[in-house]
């Protein structure tokens, strides 16, 4: 890439140094926000090491894995029976645990990206085991090759139920999956025709859904060569006896596929404010195609870039409910009381984000849609609950003095430290002076000062 390319790596200078603001920005985007120790470590180590650690984290900590596995057991998914959307709360707690306490925040952020990209909902799948299977598939392929992920999604059981791939028959094609494949998952509107949808649907036939002994549909699917429509079809200008592997190959050969995916990644990692031009996205799409659709490669370019560390990106995203709640936990490190993550799951639900149940196959709208007045009310109430505690749910009040002590920070300057931790310089003068006034008045008022910071409009932004 050329030197003056916006995607060339950011090289800090004395005028524009590697500072807390950049470190915190990196962690909000590549993960869910950083703790005090993580901020200080990455501030000292510089951008290259910080980004490298996110891209290639250490192997999962043994103790973390044990707790996560136990939580996964507790979801009831292994029972493999019918599940309504409300039954997913333990599963949401399991995933929130991975986001809040895991050592691979970028992996979880990408897993969430794929959940939003291939948005599948329990309310159409009715089975938690299938939803968790899909979730692990997203995690496994999170930073891998998009083509491999796409192939895995095409034969994923939750997806076969959700978009009717299992009832797509040669004699009576069901176009549901084919249409979303082209419109949402790969090319984007305007880059295919209705004839392409029909051709893709025919080529994607071959799935047989199992039946139990009273002929109810089961969640077992088998791909059977003889059920696939092998007649000649024309997809995106290529004519042949195309079947599923050909369909996916032809789709990914389209330049539009790489452009579409890069735009989605841009919105997820860089900015929700701007709709970047084709010229701006093209270098990323070229890199994606040159590396056989390596997600890690392109995400790495984005995170290292000058553009990423510029005002075009700072605070140009709205935190989703999950980012908002998990972020506060990663930053403030409240004690890991048993109900904390259940309360997070409930608050996210009220804020409009139920993991494993996106509103439609389009995923969550994101951006300003999160800032509707009801969602905002639930966000402000969550902050009040996190800090003030909830005696009914055995959630203790947050203790800022304990936090300061743990990080060996002077109590008299605690509010300045919290400000650095949560907002860096991105906060209005009125908010910061109100917080200082409260904190400096009496040390009992430190929690109130903290509430003022966390309820600042700036804290809504990633």
């Amino acid at each position: 890439m050329k030197k003056n390319n916006p995607w060339s790596p950011c090289e800090p200078t004395s005028k524009d140094p590697w500072d807390l603001r950049k470190v915190a920005h990196l962690h909000r985007r590549a993960g869910f926000g950083a703790s005090w120790a993580e901020l200080q470590r990455d501030l000292a180590e510089g951008p290259a090491e910080s980004i490298e650690r996110l891209l290639h984290p250490l192997a999962e900590d043994e103790q973390f894995r044990r707790v996560a596995d136990a939580l996964k057991q507790a979801t009831g998914a292994l029972r493999d029976n019918y599940a309504a959307p409300r039954d997913s709360r333990p599963a949401r707690v399991w995933w929130l645990y991975r986001m809040a306490y895991g050592g691979d925040p970028l992996g979880e952020k990408l897993t969430l990206f794929w959940h939003n990209h291939f948005a599948t909902g329990l309310r159409g799948v009715y089975n938690l085991r299938l939803m968790l299977e899909q979730n692990e598939l997203f995690r496994q392929h999170a930073r891998g090759k998009f083509g491999e992920l796409l192939r895995a999604v095409e034969s994923d059981r939750a997806m076969l139920v959700w978009l009717d791939g299992g009832s797509n028959r040669k004699e009576q094609p069901n176009e549901n999956f084919a249409r979303e494949l082209l419109e949402l998952f790969t090319l984007g509107t305007g880059n295919y025709t209705e004839a392409d949808v029909r051709a893709a649907a025919r080529g994607l036939t071959g799935w047989q859904q199992g039946r139990d002994n009273i002929l109810n549909k089961t969640n077992e699917f088998s791909y059977q060569e003889e059920l696939a429509d092998t007649s000649t079809k024309t997809l995106l200008g290529q004519t042949g006896p195309w079947r599923r592997d050909d369909i996916l190959r032809i789709v990914l050969e389209q330049p539009a596929a790489a452009m579409h995916l890069c735009r989605r990644l841009y919105r997820w990692f860089v900015s929700e404010s701007a709709a970047p031009s084709d010229e701006f996205i093209a270098p990323l799409a070229a890199e994606l195609r040159a590396t056989n659709y390596s997600i890690e490669h392109v995400v790495g370019i984005m995170l290292r870039s000058r553009h990423f560390f510029s005002p075009n990106a700072y605070r140009q995203r709205v935190k989703s409910p999950v980012e908002f709640c998990v972020g506060a936990i990663r930053q403030l490190e409240p004690p890991r009381t048993p109900n904390l993550l259940t309360l997070v799951a409930m608050s996210c639900e009220r804020q409009g984000q139920i993991l494993f149940d996106p509103p439609s196959v389009k995923g969550w709208e994101g951006g300003r849609a999160w800032l509707n007045s009801n969602g905002m009310l639930m966000r402000l109430n969550w902050i009040a609950e996190l800090l003030g505690g909830n005696s009914k749910a055995a959630l203790p009040a947050y203790d800022p003095e304990k936090w300061a002590k743990e990080h060996a920070l002077e109590l008299s300057k605690a509010i300045e430290s919290f400000c650095e931790l949560l907002l860096q310089d991105d906060v209005s003068a009125a908010t910061i002076s109100q917080a200082r006034e409260l904190a400096n008045g009496a040390k009992e008022k430190l929690p109130q000062a903290l509430q003022v910071l966390l309820q600042a409009p700036e804290y809504q932004l990633a």
Binding site: R86, V361, K362, G375, A384, A430, E458, L461
Partner: protein, 420 residues
């Protein structure tokens, strides 16, 4: 209710005088109160009767021999029915609804359903909620992944940026969100009581909150970042709404008289919100219990009494107290019930059934073909009116929304709502 229209008008002029930070719904209401332009003032309330309401014992075809013959135990005696014409009459416990018919405030659309009827609660409900296209209906399926029909209406209204401060739709009730409201860009809130709209002060005292709000109001730098400006506006809207909600005290008795039951409480809450100046145009609520496979008579009678009583109290309340907000209530169920009764003095899942429309905008009376009980398919009468036709009428004539983009094609217009 402690919050009168007079007080509201007083507040309205203050709001107009003061600021740009007033949330859109209050501002518009204030404009309306001051006689200025506003967008739309109509309210749609959707009432879902969950479980499959027995349409044949709701709007009873009392002169049809087949009805008497196939329902030896469950048929309702002619003499007690509230007759609507010389062929059908309302269930005896629907006094409230009869009153609305007499006032010209109610209409029934008969024989509403869809092709390839699905007799599964889930799937038929999902079909009503998502209003899928013809191709999907041929497969007998809803389009779960596409989002609800009301969600599509909400998304058509305005881009999210312009309505961050407005609640476009509100569901009153507990449990899972109806599919009809899922899938829009701005999530629809759901509440069981007013308390859920209240803001928690948390650790802050009143003075601190005031200072906090003042700080936000004076923040001029936020304009540099549009997302930050949205966050700021929305935060301020929360506080203004909170003040608004504070003024509604559901414990105080107001002069509206509602029967004492769950559905009445919910419709009462909706009326209170409308009276308090909420601009929200769409409300959704449900009443469960209609899956009457056994010992149906008493159970169904009680449910219908609730429906009739709640509807008439609600319409009277809103018409009297907020004449500027015309309301329409759409009452539907996922299917009707089998004509032939079963061996447990109940009825099994059926297909086509009547839909009720209530409010001053309706073309009153009985619409749609009478159910043809002599020509059953799979033991059920065949639908004559596609439910999407009813939606189309509600969209075009009540919500002023073109129906074609929402429903995927155009439908013949039913004359069930007064034009304009």
């Amino acid at each position: 209710m402690s919050y009168s229209r007079r007080e509201f008008l007083g507040l309205a002029s203050t709001l107009l005088a003061t600021s740009t930070t007033v949330p859109a719904f209050l501002r518009q209401t204030a404009w309306a109160a001051a006689g200025k332009e506003r967008t739309s003032d109509r309210v749609l309330v959707v009432l879902q009767l969950t479980g499959g309401n027995d349409g044949l014992n709701t709007v009873v075809p009392y002169t049809d021999d087949n009805y008497q013959r196939l329902r030896p135990k469950l048929h309702l005696a002619d003499a007690k029915l509230h007759k609507l014409d010389d062929r059908v009459g309302l269930h005896p416990s629907l006094d409230g609804l009869k009153k609305l018919f007499d006032n010209g405030q109610a209409a029934v659309v008969q024989s509403v359903g869809y092709p390839n009827p699905n007799r599964s609660h889930f799937e038929s409900m999902a079909i009503w909620h998502t209003a899928p296209g013809d191709e999907q209906l041929r497969h007998g399926k809803a389009n779960m992944a596409a989002g609800g029909w009301l969600a599509r209406v909400i998304d058509r209204q305005k881009p999210p940026a312009e309505r961050a401060a407005t609640i476009e739709a509100l569901r009153v009730g507990a449990g899972e969100m109806p599919q009809a409201l899922l899938g829009c860009r701005v999530p629809v809130p759901s509440l069981t009581d007013m308390a859920q709209l209240k803001q928690r002060a948390g650790l802050l005292d009143v003075e601190t909150v005031k200072a906090q709000i003042a700080g936000w109001q004076n923040d001029t730098k936020a304009a540099d970042n549009l997302l930050l400006q949205s966050a700021l506006n929305s935060t301020l809207a929360v506080h203004t709404t909170a003040q608004q909600i504070e003024k509604i005290n559901p414990k105080l008795r107001d002069d509206a008289k509602y029967p004492n039951n769950e559905l009445s409480q919910r419709l009462h809450l909706i009326a209170q919100l409308i009276r308090a100046g909420f601009e929200t145009p769409i409300y959704y609520t449900e009443l469960d219990g209609f899956d009457t496979h056994g010992s149906q008579l008493n159970q169904h009678e009680n449910l219908l009494r609730q429906v009739g009583g709640a509807l008439s109290a609600f319409v009277e309340d809103v018409v009297k107290h907020v004449p500027s907000r015309p309301v329409l209530v759409l009452v539907f169920s996922e299917f009707g019930r089998r004509l032939g009764e079963n061996a447990s003095q109940g009825t099994d899942h059926g297909t086509a059934a009547p839909v009720l429309l209530v409010g001053s905008g309706v073309t009153p009376g009985v619409h749609g073909p009478y159910p043809d009980l002599a020509n059953l398919v799979d033991d059920d009468p065949v639908f004559a009116i596609d439910f999407r036709q009813v939606y189309a009428a509600v969209l075009e004539r009540w919500l002023d929304v073109p129906s074609q983009p929402i429903l995927g094609r155009s439908f013949e217009m039913l004359d069930v709502l007064k034009p304009g």
